[in-house]
Amino acid sequence: MSVLAHGIGSRHDLPLSPFYAFAGAFAALFVSFLALGLLWPASRFRGDRAGRPLPVPLQRLADARPTRIAARAGGLAAALFVLLHLLLGPDGPERNPAAGAVYVLLWVGLVPASLLLGPVWRLLNPLRTLHLLVCRALARDPATGRPLPVRLGLWPAAAGLLAFTWLELVAPDPASSTALLLFLVPYGAVHLAGAARHGARWFDHADAFEVYSGLLARLSPLGRRPADRRLVLRSPFNGLDATPPTPGLVATVCVMLGSTAYDGFSDAPSWITSVQTSPLGRTTAATLGLLAAVALVATLYALCAGVTRLISGQLRHPLTVFAHSLVPIALGYLVAHYFTLLVTEGPHTVMVALGTDTSVPPEPPLAPGGIATLQVAAIVVGHVLGVVAAHDRSVRLFPPARAVAGQLPLLALMIAYTIGGLTLLLA
């Protein structure tokens, strides 16, 4: 495996043909301006209060102790499986399922799992389970600990996400057992220490995978209403609207968008040429590329928030209040880039884990045209969801006279992200 390759997987999606890209860009622009004119003038989303409760037996089943214990045991067993394979198994993703389990089943698999079932990693997280078990053994309440500084917010998670995407996209030989152990063992140690100091809520703020899964779960139709702890079916917009405007949310979303964008352009031969001929050395050059991608996404966002503030006047946190509307755009990027990886390398990893003799991952289930359509559709749908979420937020925050003008900068930003995303698929 090389510096230039993904963590795993040897087949990449074909570059998009211009037809699909133009169709996607046109659709995005069209919907954006339609939204300006036609969408509702008063806020409709009710965030956490919305939703239709699931039938009681279903809720009981989901909340039952055996279900929870089974999920926690499953998560722990899977982590142990990966760890043992990393320590004792052969090197190389063709023979060792550990790399596939981390980069495909966990990292990419969390996207559909969180979209369908909500913040699943909170339940499966082996670190949380370990912390729980140790607290049980010491007869301590897992929730006790020093309070976390409010300003910390999601910043540790953003840093963790950046570190993980660096490992996946930049590190030399990311699929080797050594690289994975060098990442996972310190990661586990840091978070267990954090949890020991601050209690289990540390994971809510600092665990990259929990925050990632939690943000994507905002778009899940399945949610939990905080008021009465009921599991409800709700519109993804309401879930998204309920995203708490925590410090570090913007950073987290920017890392999600930026790293996926970097994954896109790191496939371009021109970028690969500049990395492999760079006088700085490959890893440094690629690291700078990843940081630049995240910085670009963040700068554009900050610029847009600044303009929004100029237009609308008194907005207190223009950066954070709209950050939730970028989650669907990030989701669109993720689906467009990783769908094929999940459906080919996912089963392949399982087959390697089961010891079935397979050297070649299965063919993708869709023809090239189908994949291209799916990619464009994912990006455009993400864009539309983002536009609608931002619209609702702006009509709530701005006085009616300024509502349309106030959302213009954000709309421009979203169009930029979307067209950027399509261009990356084209490259």
Binding site: S10, H12, L14, P15, P269, I272, V360
Partner: protein, 285 residues
């Protein structure tokens, strides 16, 4: 005119004669012997034939004339008259599973595995296969399966040569040139194609001092097309086509050819393993 006295055969014939048609055969043999000696001015028939492994010097037999020139791999040439000299042609065709099947057609020549290492006898011996001058195998019969692995081990090559040798490992020669036949070993064998078709695209890539030229780009292919990658590098390396999992050794300073049929769609990277360079991306639509 056949000039070989063939002592082994003579022995057998003698034993035959003692039982059956002694007078007629004896006359025929005497006549033949006289004719042979007269015609080729040989200094008497070679009377011994060494068992395998009991050889003396290269100049074991005194058939033909031993030249000072050698065949390029340290075996001296043994020149014989053009008329009636051994001759060889070689045909090669891809095997359906692995490598090629090589067939030698010889004239005035018999493979003599039993007596290798012994004295040179006209019209006897073995053949050797070379790929671009690199020795591949010694043959004791007309058919040989040449596995792909052997070709890769030899660093690949384009021309297969079959050369005839005497039992004492001198190379048979006529007019100071070894008796040999060549055939191009053009394409990488691929399963199911009896005659590999010509590639639709050829890509020449040179790597020197860690720089790839032409600069890595994308190679557009239609599904089902064949591409030939010709890679020359200044450092020994391994070529790898991801997704197709094709590998080839890249010996330093030589051009290695890897041919593959683009039979699944996607974007695949062609890389070197040691220096970890991207050479090109295959875009198969």
């Amino acid at each position: 005119m056949r000039r070989s006295p063939r002592p082994l055969r003579l022995n057998r014939l003698t034993s035959l004669t003692s039982r059956t048609a002694f007078p007629r055969l004896a006359v025929a043999l005497l006549t033949a012997g006289a004719l042979v000696c007269g015609a080729s001015a040989c200094g008497g028939r070679p009377t011994t034939h060494h068992r395998p492994g009991t050889s003396h010097e290269q100049a074991g037999g005194n058939v033909g004339r031993l030249l000072t020139a050698d065949d390029g791999s340290g075996h001296r040439l043994r020149q014989v008259e053009a008329t009636g000299a051994p001759a060889v042609t070689v045909a090669v065709r891809p095997d359906s599973e692995d490598g090629w099947n090589v067939h030698l057609s010889v004239r005035n020549f018999r493979f003599s595995p039993d007596s290798v290492g012994g004295a040179a006898l006209l019209g006897r011996g073995h053949a050797r296969l070379f790929l671009d001058g690199h020795p591949l195998a010694r043959l004791y019969g007309p058919w040989y399966h040449l596995p792909d692995s052997l070709v890769r081990e030899a660093g690949g090559g384009r021309t297969l040569t079959a050369r005839l040798y005497a039992d004492d490992h001198t190379a048979w020669a006529v007019h100071s040139t070894p008796i040999q036949a060549t055939t191009p070993l053009t394409t990488t064998p691929s399963a199911g194609t009896p005659a590999a078709p010509r590639p639709d695209r050829t890509l020449e890539i040179v790597i020197s001092h860690g720089k790839v030229s032409p600069a890595p780009g994308r190679t557009e292919l239609r599904k089902g097309q064949r591409i030939e990658l010709r890679v020359r590098t200044d450092r020994a390396d391994t070529l790898h086509v991801h997704g197709y999992d094709k590998e080839a050794r890249l010996p330093a300073g030589r051009t290695t050819t890897l041919t593959l049929t683009a039979d699944h769609t996607g974007l695949f990277e062609v890389e070197t393993h040691e220096s970890d360079l991207l050479l090109t991306q295959l875009v198969v639509r």
